[in-house]
Symmetry: C2
Subunit: 192 residues, 2 copies
C-alpha cells in the first residue's frame, strides 16, 4: 500500500528499514470521495498530502465566489496549502477531490519531528520545494508573457493525463480565463 509514496521518496533519498517504519507510522491514510473537501473555509491546514490515487484540486475562492485553481494533484504528487501548513494559519485555499482518491497525510508536527530525527528529509523536501518553486516561476513567466490560447496548449502538452480527468471549467480557472472563453479557444481549433 505504501509502495508509491516510498518510491516517490526513494527518488531523492535512501532510507533504511527503521527510517521507513518511522516514516510510515507518521502517515494517515484517507479515502476521499469525489467532491469531498480535505481543506476548506477557515480551517487550519494541518497536513501535507500525498496523492496515492485519484485527483485533487487546490483553488483560491475570492469574495465574489470566483475560483482560481492553483494546482491539480494526480497520483504521485504532494499537495497542501503550503503557507497555512507552514505557519499554522487558517487556510486561504480550498482542496477538493476531483475524483475518488486515496491520500496519505503527514502532519506538521510529525514532519517537524521527522526533520530532526531523520535529517535526510530536509534534503527530500528541499528538492521538492526547489522543483515546486521552479514550476511556479515558469507559470508566472507564462502568465505574464503568453496569451490564454498559448497557455492552454502548453497545459495540454504538460499535463495530458490531468486534462482527461478534470472539467473544462476547472482548466479555465487554472488558466485564469472564463469557461466561455476556453470554449471558444477550443472551438476555433481542432473540431472533430
Amino acid at each position: 500500500m505504501h509502495h508509491l509514496i516510498l518510491e516517490n521518496i526513494a527518488r531523492h533519498i535512501s532510507l533504511d528499514q527503521e527510517e521507513i517504519n518511522c516514516f510510515i507510522n507518521c502517515l494517515k491514510q484517507k479515502k476521499v470521495s469525489k467532491k469531498e473537501f480535505i481543506l476548506r473555509g477557515e480551517q487550519i491546514c494541518k497536513y501535507i498530502n500525498f496523492v496515492h490515487s485519484g485527483v485533487l484540486r487546490a483553488y483560491y475562492l475570492d469574495k465574489e465566489g470566483k475560483q482560481s485553481t492553483i494546482m491539480f494533484a494526480v497520483t504521485d504528487w504532494w499537495i497542501t496549502d503550503m503557507f497555512c501548513f507552514i505557519n499554522n494559519q487558517p487556510a486561504m485555499l480550498t482542496i477538493e477531490a476531483v475524483e475518488d482518491s486515496i491520500i496519505f497525510q503527514l502532519s506538521k508536527d510529525d514532519l517537524d519531528s521527522l526533520y530532526i530525527k531523520t535529517p535526510k528529509f530536509e534534503r527530500f523536501f528541499r528538492i521538492i520545494f526547489q522543483n515546486a518553486y521552479i514550476r511556479e516561476q515558469l507559470r508566472t513567466i507564462q502568465n505574464l508573457s503568453l496569451t490564454a490560447e498559448e497557455r492552454y496548449h502548453i497545459f495540454l502538452n504538460k499535463y495530458p493525463q490531468v486534462v482527461k480527468q478534470v472539467t473544462q471549467k476547472q482548466i479555465a480557472s487554472y488558466l485564469g480565463i472564463t469557461p466561455e472563453f476556453l470554449s471558444t479557444i477550443r472551438g476555433g481549433k481542432n473540431r472533430k
Copy 2:
C-alpha cells in the same frame, strides 16, 4: 564584509566557526555596475547570488523582445535562474544590475559539496525554497484573480523600497502590463 550573508543564514540555522569559514571560502565577491549583466543569453548559470547591496532584476526575454520581470532582488535577497542553475543548462533568464551592486556568488559545485559536508545547508535552502514557492504561488493567485491596478497597489505595499529604486517600465513588466497602461493607472489616482 560577510556580516549580512551570515546574518541571513543565521536566521534559519546555526553554524560553528569552522562551518562559517568553510562557507565563506566558497563565496566569490563581485561588484556589478548599473546595467551590467551577471547572466544573459545562452550562458550557463553557474551561480546562486546573494545581494549584499544594490538591486538586481531577473527577467525573461521573449522572441519579440518583450521583457517579463520575474523578480527584483534587493539587499538580503538570493537570486539566480533556478532552473538552469540546478540543471546546468543555458539560461532562460537575464539578470541585470538595476543599480551598482555587490553580490556574493556561490557555485553549484560548491553548494553541492556544502550540502554533503554541512547538511544544515539542506535545511537552510529547504526553508529558502519553501518561502520562494509560497511567494510565487501567491503571485500566481494574484495574477489569476486580480486586476492590474489591484496588483500594482499590492506591489507598492509589499515592496516599498523596491519601488523607489526601479523604473516604472520595470514595474510594469513585473505586473505583466505595458508601461503606458501603468502610467494611466498611476495618473488616475494620487496626482501630486
